[in-house]
Every structure is written in C-alpha cells, then in structure tokens.
Amino acid sequence: MGPLIPHELLSPEWNNVIALIIGIAFGYLMEASGFSSSRKLAGVFYGYDFTVLRVFFTAAVVSMIGILYLSKLGYLNFDDLYIQPTYVDSAIIGGVIMGVGFVAGGFCPGTSLCAAAIGKIDGMVFILGLMLGVVIFSEMFPWLEGIFNAHNLGGVTLEDTLGLSNEWTTAIFAIIAVVAFYGTTILGRYIRNVRY
C-alpha cells in the first residue's frame, strides 16, 4: 500500500532518482502547456488567455479524484500523505503577496524555471528576485516570526475546517472547475484578443 517510500516498500535510495524523473515530467508538461511564457500566464488576470486556470483546475480535480479513488481502493493510505499545516495568518498574507508578485513578474517559481530553462532572460531575472525575496524574508524573520507562527491549525483538511468530507470537497471543486471552464470560454468571446 502506498505511499511507497514512507512505507519503505521502495528503498530511500530511490528517492532522489524518483525526484529527478518526476521533475523532468513536471518541467516538460508545464513547458508544453505554455507555462514558459509570462504573457500567456498573465492572460488569466486579464481574460485574454485562460490556460493557467484550465491547466491548474484540471490538474487539481484529476489529482483529487485519483488520490481519493486510490485511497478508497486501498492502494494509498490517505492518513500517511503529507498535509501541510494551516497557519491562517501567514497563508493569507503570503498568498496576497504572491498574487502581486505573479501579476508584476508574470511568473510563479515553477513557471519561471521553465522560462529560464528555454532561455527567457525575464525568467532568469525572476528567479534572481525569488532568491532575493528569500534573503529579505530571512533577514526580517525576527520581526515576522509572530505572524509566521500565528493561528496554527495543524495539518487540517477542509473536512476539519468546514466539515466537508473529502468526497464532497472533490465533487464541489469539480463542479466549480467545469463551470469555470465553461464560463471563461463564453467570457473569452467578449474580451479583446491580445496577440503575443
């Protein structure tokens, strides 16, 4: 039963090999989906290109459904999966800052790697910025520590927070995704085309 490496069904030596293989697939399919282009990525915020929304929501829905089925069928123990802790304040503040960074820079960390990998100078500069951002955060950490650690709910899921079972969360998210796909397709007809 999965996850294989934490259950030691696969020796830890394989960990980095698997990381490399997963990374290659990750980079390949992000680039192939157009994520190396900042103008394509930024399109989601202006309505001229909804690729980000389509790729992101499809991936999330597929992954939620798949993980749910694997755990129901007994191939994957859901309780052994890593659920990141929810620190309410820092998650909100960090997310808001990242949103501004996304629109200003046109990338997120993963997509800037794809852009840099195919020679986009703006992607490389974005990565330099990311590293500076990490340095600034670390140097300011003594002042930020309070916010960083405030309201820790632990590794909670929507089941704990909203009382929505994983099945309902998945179903509702899938419906929202399909509505968003349909809605943005209709909306796209009324938005001026931007060539890039």
Binding site: G2, P3, L4, L10, N16, I18, A19, I21, I22, A25, F26, Y28, L29, G34, S36, S37, A42, R54, F56, T58, A59, V62, S63, I67, F78, P85, A91, G94, G95, M98, G99, V100, F102, G106, F107, C108, P109, G110, L113, I118, G119, I121, D122, G123, V125, I127, G129, L130, M131, G133, V135, S138, L144, I147, L153, G155, V156, N166, R192, V194
Partner: protein
C-alpha cells in the same frame, strides 16, 4: 527542424490535456513519496547553501536559515533540488523540441525590455518573500495542497489568484 521552428513555436498542448497529465503526475508523486510537487523550496535551499558557503556563522545564527541546515548534510541535498533540476531539464527538452529554446526577453511591445526586467525582478522578490511566508508557492502549497484537500492549499490558491485579480488593473500596461 525548420518545420518545427516555423510552425510549432506557438503550438502548445491542449490545456485540458496538460492539466490531466499534471494531475496524473501529482497522483504518481503522492503514491510514491506521500508528498506533492514543489518549486520555491528549491530556491530557498539554494540560497541557504550559497550563504552557508560564504557566511556560515550568519546562517547558523539566523533564526530562519538555521532551520534548514543539518550536520553532515548539504543544504542542497533535498528532494526538491533533484526535482527542480529535473524540471529544468524537462522544460528545456520540451522547448527545444518545439523550437522555443532561445535567449530572449519576452514582453509586450508597449513596454521596454528594461521595464520588463525591472518588473520581473520586483515580482520575483515579492513571490520569493510570499512563498516563505506561506510555506510554499503555487505548486507546493496551492496545487499539492488541493490534491489532499488541505485547508492551507485552498487558502493559498484563493489568496494568490484573488490578490492577482485585485491588483491586475495597476499592472495592465505591462500585459495588455
């Protein structure tokens, strides 16, 4: 090759196909490792590694960096570093096969290259800062978090895209 170069430069995968493949990759990753996919963590490891080389005392004293330094293990020896190295290779492969791999600064014709780079730098700084604050970025916190219904994943997704839409108006000259 010219066939690829001329005609397929702007031909990308169908986004639903790309998303489907990314979803399968996430399932595979959770099945193998019990965790999701990330990106910003590798940048952090790189920064910790570089600073540990030039100013080890500073890193050991720092309340934040010191969390990521272990004895007898390089800060670079992390799962995410290997994953990100793979991602760079994979992205290059895809770009090269489609004739997209070349040095260039991509920007709207309405702005200069210099302006594009300045905003890329500022955007990167904000994103780097925010990803540390939120303990992950679009892939590690939002997408991987959503896969396991983590509350933090939903908060991060909603705030990244929500704030993006809120401020999009002020940055419109860069993009449209």
């Amino acid at each position: 090759m010219s066939y690829w170069n001329e005609d397929h430069q702007h031909t990308y995968w169908n986004p639903y196909f790309g998303g489907f493949m990314l979803g399968l990759l996430l399932i595979f990753t959770f099945y193998m490792t019990g965790r999701g996919i990330g990106a910003s963590g590798a940048m952090k490891s790189t920064v910790v590694f570089a600073l540990y080389e030039v100013a080890p005392k500073h890193v050991e004293k720092s309340a934040y960096y010191s969390r990521f330094v272990e004895e007898d293990k390089s800060p670079l020896n992390t799962w995410l570093i290997f994953e990100v190295l793979g991602a760079i290779g994979g992205a290059f492969l895809s770009g090269a096969l489609s004739g997209r791999a070349k040095f260039k600064i991509q920007h709207s014709p309405k702005i200069s290259s210099k302006r594009r780079l300045a905003f890329a730098l500022v955007g990167g700084i904000l994103f780097g800062f925010g990803s540390q604050m939120a303990r992950g970025c679009t892939s590690g916190a939002a997408l991987s978090g959503l896969s396991v219904m983590a509350t933090a994943g939903f908060i991060t997704m909603l705030t990244i895209f929500g704030s993006g839409y809120l401020v999009a108006y002020f940055f419109r000259k860069n993009w449209i």
